[in-house]
């Protein structure tokens, strides 16, 4: 659907330290277009942190996150891209700053707790669109009305966003992300504080966003949800990437002891 893409994304030796504690250690994986990637793991495994690093909200302590150059035709590998040695600082900094500048406008993120501005639901969408989409008010309005309809929020458009129920706010957060037509959508436990009904609505919206061509990268604690939504699973444990599998293989035949224990509910930390 996109003529140019920031995917695939190569993550190499990604790490994140805070005050001498290593929270993310040496993650290496890639993200490819099309599939829905779910990041699983017990509390403290570094799932949310990984999403924030990928989205550029936090600068990595080490390693690189290499998004494809969206200004080049898709699938065009970039052999000239520096394979920066670990101890070589300047290219790494260059990668980090590039990551902040270019790909973020092709990405969106939905957080566990929706953060709404103190304005109407529609004005929240207008705000996000005005930040990212240039010109053409009418086009932005059409886009806004379209996502409101897609997320079942048309009736609530003129209500103050903060007075919506938590489920409605999360749908609005998804609508806001969707309005930006991201190539990659990060979701950090988007249904953690929702009841089953609202969870189902949110899942349906996530599926619709995926169907419209957006790569989904999501964390969850809900194994049933992971099974319903995932194409592939990335399993983290104590900041390490322990296992990466297709969804079916992960749930039927986990390769690592940690993942097997996690699926049985026996992995406590």
């Amino acid at each position: 659907m996109f003529s140019t893409s920031i995917l695939p994304c190569q993550v190499k030796s990604l790490s994140y330290h805070v005050e001498g504690r290593t929270l993310i250690d040496d993650l290496t994986f890639d993200l490819v277009a099309g599939s829905r990637t779910l990041v699983l793991g017990p509390n403290g495994a570094g799932k949310s942190l990984t999403l924030r690093l990928l989205h550029g909200l936090l600068p990595p302590s080490g390693g690189t996150i290499d998004w494809a150059d969206p200004n080049k035709p898709q699938q065009h590998q970039t052999p000239q891209k520096r394979r920066a040695p670990q101890n070589h600082q300047p290219p790494q900094n260059h990668q980090v700053s590039q990551k902040h500048q270019i790909p973020q406008k092709y990405q969106a993120m939905v957080f566990q707790r929706p953060v709404m501005l103190r304005r109407t639901a529609a004005a929240n969408l207008d705000y996000a669109l005005s930040l990212t989409q240039e010109g053409d008010r009418a086009g932005r309005r059409r886009r806004r009305d379209w996502v409101l309809a897609q997320t079942g929020l048309t009736q609530l458009a003129e209500r103050p966003a903060r007075l919506l129920s938590i489920g409605e706010q999360q749908r609005l957060a998804l609508a806001r992300a969707w309005a930006l037509e991201p190539q990659v959508l990060f979701l950090d436990e988007p249904t953690a504080s929702l009841d089953p009904g609202a969870t189902r609505q949110v899942e349906a919206i996530i599926q619709a966003i995926h169907a419209s061509g957006t790569k989904i990268v999501m964390t969850t604690h809900d194994l049933g949800q992971a099974h319903r939504l995932a194409d592939e699973i990335i399993f983290l444990h104590q900041g390490h990437l322990v296992e990466r599998q297709s969804c079916d293989a992960f749930f039927t035949n986990p390769q690592s002891a940690a993942a097997a224990a996690f699926l049985k509910g026996e992995l406590l930390w």
């Binding site: 973020q104 953060v115 709404m116 103190r118 996000a128 103050p160 903060r162 007075l163 806001r176």
Partner: protein, 252 residues
Amino acid sequence: MQNELTVSSTRLAIMNDIGQAFLTAFKLIAGWDRDLAEIIGLSLQVSLIALAVAAAIGLPLGAAVALLRFPGRRALAVLLSALMGLPPVVVGLIVYLMLSRAGPLGVLGLLFTPTAMIIAQCLLITPIIAALTRQIVLDLWSDYREQLTSLGCGPARAIPTLLWDARTALVTVILAGFGRATAEVGAVMIVGGNIDHVTRVMTTAIALETSRGDLTLALALGVVLMALSLTINGAAFLCRDWADRGQGRLAS
């Protein structure tokens, strides 16, 4: 024995005076005395203009100190907080020195004009508005930072966003500034000079009339000042309450 009698009768006389003075004061207010109206009008004019200028500077300044990273940011934050407690007479003195004939801005001929009073009040309340705004915006930013950053909104672009989203809390900040401006007497006395029909405002008039022993006008002005303060704060309270119900509480 006789002493005690004298004291209590004097006290009785003063109490009577006060009662009498209140009565006359209300008559003055009810009859919309011209002098009284003029003084109230000038007070409002000076303080409202000072407030507008201070808000135009203080709100963005406070937000910028909260959000932007620049050298001296922390020092500026400390300075703003410290300046909140600036003694009005000191501000008056500084403005007086600047505007006096021999001062650097003497050629403007602003001393003993309402403009000088506006400048003095502005200097007094801009730090208050900026420092309080900084704190409010900082709190809100901790709430919004990830979401706004994700949307591609950097700190500079976030300044108008956060000022608008903190609007109900900022109304209280503006009112604090207005209260300070209307209530202070030292600065406007020094730079305005309390000249009848020119620079006489409520507080300076109260000070003058009290020292002259004319309690009637002083009390009338005092009553108006109190009523003004109550009305404005009451309105702000209602406004905030209404806004909270309309948009969701700031703390939520």
